[in-house]
Symmetry: C2
């Protein structure tokens, strides 16, 4: 293919492989009888150059006839942009991450970007993952959504030289964070329990040294205060974000001295699931003997027994806003994209009930 046979030469003989080797801009130019640069300017509607109406029409017709699609790779090389974003997640099977990815993918798709996914193996450092993604020049920006409370994370991210947005975690030195208003969500959950008459409300907390865990715990305390309920630290147990953590924490609560709580506010559906299994095993009936509510709705909530009352959080939208904001950043449309998303709504299922004193 030494001498431009690629443009006209191929088109004539390539019917058999038409689906495989796509038309290039040179093919379109040849068909329209113009220079490739003119085609480029017409198709990207470059205002720096005027083009006669009928030339424009010829080009557009040729492009359509050949089903021309610009080659993203070539464009990327020239523009030094990949038109793709990277996201790395520690666990794909956690619905929270799944929904965040789904939102991010939607935003990327709408804006003509691709979403590149990477899994952070347990034990591996996420910094290494971001490093790899950026070193290969494969992404223009990174979405960062990890459970890890890594002090070095931000430093590592900045060293990659690639713009990034943090999801579901606020770090003081980083402006671009999209977070859920966990505090407001906690208020909503506690308000619901209080409205049902509960006052001895326990909290299955997340990681108290992490952003979300701390926020949810703070919201819990604030809500108690607002309802003039004394805060009892023995009613708070860290459960992490796993079912077994929730189970362990629930057992701790049950074996505690003093009157049993009449309601549980769990930081996540997953830990609530663990708690429910312990309650079943202890023959404590939900919601007759104890009410349970958790933050963040997911398909799992509906499947538990009893179906779990939750405060729904806009996780899909968090992913959407994160990706969309990151693209704004990359395209210079905005300088910072931080925002806090309020909880969606309370979804009352069968795990909470009026206190029967």
């Amino acid at each position: 293919m030494s001498k431009l046979t690629s443009a006209s030469g191929r088109k004539k003989t390539a019917d058999a492989t038409a689906a495989i080797s796509r038309a290039t801009i040179a093919d379109v130019a040849a068909a329209a009888g113009v220079d490739p640069s003119t085609v480029s300017r017409v198709l990207s509607s470059d205002p720096a150059q005027r083009v006669r109406e009928d030339t424009k029409r010829r080009i557009l017709n040729a492009a359509q006839a050949l089903n021309y699609q610009p080659n993203v790779i070539a464009r990327s090389l020239r523009a030094a942009k990949t038109y793709s974003l990277g996201i790395a997640v520690p666990q794909l099977d956690n619905p929270v991450f799944a929904m965040a990815i789904q939102g991010a993918e939607r935003a990327a798709r709408e804006r003509g970007y691709s979403l590149l996914i990477s899994h952070i193996e347990p034990g591996a450092s996420d910094a290494a993952v971001y490093q790899r993604m950026s070193e290969l020049n494969r992404v223009d920006g990174l979405l960062v959504a990890t459970l890890e409370t890594d002090r070095e994370l931000v430093g590592a991210l900045e060293r990659t030289g690639v713009p990034f947005v943090l999801l579901n975690r606020r770090i003081a030195s980083v402006a671009n964070c999209i977070v859920l208003d966990s505090r407001a969500a906690a208020h909503k959950a506690v308000d619901h329990l209080v409205s049902l008459g509960h006052r001895r409300i326990a909290h299955l907390a997340g990681h108290l040294d992490g952003f979300n865990g701390a926020e949810r715990f703070a919201g819990y305390k604030e809500a108690l205060l607002r309802h003039k309920i004394a805060f009892d630290p023995t009613l708070v147990v860290a459960a992490g974000y796993t079912a077994s953590g929730g189970a362990t924490a629930m057992r701790a609560l049950l074996s505690r001295n003093g009157p049993k709580p009449t309601a549980i506010f769990a930081a996540t559906v997953v830990s609530a699931a663990g708690a429910l299994s312990v309650l079943h095993a202890a023959d404590i009936e939900v919601p007759r003997d104890i009410s349970v509510i958790a933050l963040h709705d997911s398909i799992i909530a509906e499947m538990l027994f009893p179906p779990l009352t939750t405060v729904q959080l806009p996780v899909e939208e968090m992913g959407y806003r994160g990706a969309s904001g990151l693209i704004d950043l990359l395209e210079g449309k905005r300088d910072d994209v931080g925002c806090t998303l309020p909880p969606d709504r309370l979804i009352v299922r069968a795990s909470t009930a009026e206190l029967n004193s």
Copy 2:
């Protein structure tokens, strides 16, 4: 390169932006005092060209000193390969898809490929998604894992001209399918129930016109036959792959005339979850009154009440094999990659028990 300014020129002034603008092959060549083509041949250990040992050393040193990473985009343009695979999924929050993606990502990463993810919006045709991925010249191959029983799917895929591998679905005309041995898994599940003394075993089936639904149903029938249990069609209800489908099917089973089944074999954990909620509501205790087993283990199984006995299926490995095989295909290392993966093992939890007649 008219006058090498890009190579040496930049390096001298770019300390501030060092992290952003990476070294190119021209930079390495300049530093080693050789031609870029020589650098390329040394770094890709091209056997077609011999290079003196000390030249080789100079180049390797320069590359290391500059922390040179080949630009994937440029390489892609030249090679007409993107070194990335696409995968499209209908629901990200279904753990089955999540695990398949995780496996695919692992394989891709190990082989130096990226995984590009796309979500198929409900109601949208997956064909359109694959079309889009391939049109943008963004992927070398596609992993196809959909629930849809789309007759036109294969045609649409072939029209993209991009090699593909089907996951979790066998289609006669397609050689490259990685599937789970649903039939063997069904045997395992039924065997377990029979070993506990059950003989009136109902089946919450998937979609009977889909590959997996049909296979699981066939396996169920075969296993019954092997145990000399008469097949009773009224004990089979299609439940699809949702919790509400499982609930509806379970209600149908309970309202059926004739003796109640003593055990349920559900095609999926999700439909089993729906069934469990109906059983709870009807005050039928599991496993005392009825045993329940489902195919494919997931984190959800552990969270249900009671924790669900399952036959674990190698879904992560399915994704791994799919991606790995697809790359073999692309690199000409293999011509076909079909395989059937046997079920992993039976995981006995609390939802199945000895029949107490």
